[in-house]
């Protein structure tokens, strides 16, 4: 397996590979890589997502309420986010 990315970086990268994703979906996808780590918590993922949204590299335009009336936010990568990935994603990650 390629060298692991810092979690925030990996979340951004994952979102770039799908159309949109909510925190639970992202966590499910990244569980094989980060699942055993103490930082693998929903609140940590939400904090990363909200920060990246505040910095305009993700957008949160797509929202729904689930059956329990809880808010689900689907995040998408913005053009700014894509440019960052193109510039700074390590080479061996780009080939994947």
């Amino acid at each position: 397996m390629a060298e692991m990315l810092p979690l925030r970086f990996r979340i951004l990268h994952y979102i770039s590979t799908v159309n949109k994703a909510c925190a639970d979906e992202i966590m499910k996808a990244l569980e094989p890589e980060y699942g055993t780590e103490k930082q693998f918590k929903k609140e940590v993922f939400m904090d990363h997502l909200l920060d990246m949204k505040a910095n305009f590299i993700l957008d949160d335009n797509d929202v729904v309420l689930n059956g329990k009336g809880e808010l689900i936010i689907y995040y998408r990568i913005t053009d700014v986010g894509r440019t960052l990935l193109q510039k700074y994603l390590p080479k061996h990650w780009k080939q994947k």
Binding site: E3, P6, R8, F9, K38, A54, I57, V63, V64, L71
Partner: protein, 336 residues
């Protein structure tokens, strides 16, 4: 009137984002308060360092103190991140380009800005040097506007300018006549300090788009402390100061406690800069001068002069303007 599910979801999202931003504002104010506490505690720790001559007092002691403050804060943060299971994140981050940007930010904000600050004060005198270095939030805001394309509303600009004027009034010292041959060089060094701190924030925020602020600040503190220890202290007799301090448990303990305040403060500052933007983050961090006055009055019974009261008042008004949009504030309390 019933709201459709989608509208309810949008309202909940707006509430979540607003709560997140509000938390960022408090984190920024908290970073200012703990930085003020760090300045006061560092002053107490420095008083425990034995006299080493006039020359040492200008460069060796302040830079050795800066080195210990950053390095020990880096160790505290290592404990914090290690405890939270983020130790491996540090290594991962350092292997990426954004992680290396944070290292450059550390060098700009640590050795370069701190060095410029001290050299500025000693060459141009505190009256001019402190006035120029107090401009750092404005420098940071301008750089963030240019490089990060962050929008800054007029209200935040006005608040920031008021805060800076307040900070200048607080730190104002009447100019002394004397050697002017190094004056302009001193002014240049003071400007370098303001530029260094501003550039640090912008570069770090850029790096933190992709790496965790808690990790970024740990890298920053360890880089700055290590660089000062290896490349600066040996040439100015700084290690002599540190070797004295480590033999005095009381002094070492005082530096460790001050560094804990620094670690907490920097952690909050980096987080706030990412969450609410560089301009607001820096302006709220800049309230440390006011907090320094308050803590000095409480802990050291320092007298409150007219300048301190007026300056602190301006900082408070300025920071409030930065933090709160009066329109939203009143609208909200009206609704509630």
């Amino acid at each position: 009137m019933s709201i459709s599910g989608n509208q309810a979801a949008i309202m909940m999202r707006e509430k979540l984002n607003a709560q997140f931003a509000r938390k960022g504002i408090f984190t920024g104010i908290f970073s200012g308060a703990t930085w003020g506490l760090n300045s006061v505690l560092l002053g107490l720790a420095l008083a425990l360092v034995p006299a080493l001559g006039e020359e040492a007092a200008i460069y060796a002691i302040p830079l050795a103190a800066a080195c210990m403050n950053d390095f020990i804060a880096g160790l505290w943060l290592l404990l914090y991140n290690g405890g939270a299971g983020r130790f491996r994140e540090i290594v991962r981050s350092l292997k990426t380009f954004p992680g290396l940007m944070v290292v450059v930010a550390a060098l700009l904000g640590g050795p370069i800005a701190n060095g410029g600050y001290l050299l500025g004060i000693s060459m141009a005198g505190p009256a001019y040097a402190l006035t120029i270095t107090a401009l750092y939030p404005i420098v940071g805001a301008i750089l963030s506007r240019i490089f990060l394309k962050q929008r800054i509303v007029p209200r935040v600009w006005v608040g920031m300018v008021l805060s800076v004027i307040g900070a200048i009034i607080i730190s104002y010292v009447p100019p002394e006549g004397g050697d002017s041959s190094k004056f302009y060089l001193g002014i240049l060094f003071a400007a370098l300090a303001a530029l260094g701190w501003g550039a640090e924030a912008v570069l770090a925020v850029f790096g933190m788009s992709m790496i965790d602020p808690k990790i970024a600040i740990n890298i920053r503190e360890l880089t700055s402390g290590t660089f000062l220890a290896i490349f600066i202290l040996p040439f100015i007799g700084g290690w002599e100061v540190i070797s004295k301090v480590v033999t005095l448990p009381e002094a070492l303990g005082a530096f460790a406690i001050a560094a804990l305040a620094a670690a907490v403060s920097y952690l909050a500052w980096y987080k706030a800069n990412t969450t609410i933007g560089v301009a607001k983050g820096m302006a709220l961090n800049g309230t440390y001068v006011m907090w320094g006055v308050i803590f000095s009055a409480i802990l050291m019974k320092s007298p409150l002069t007219q300048n301190l009261v007026i300056g602190s008042g301006l900082v408070l008004i300025g920071a409030t303007l930065v933090a709160i949009n009066p329109k939203e504030f009143f609208k909200k309390s009206g609704e509630a």
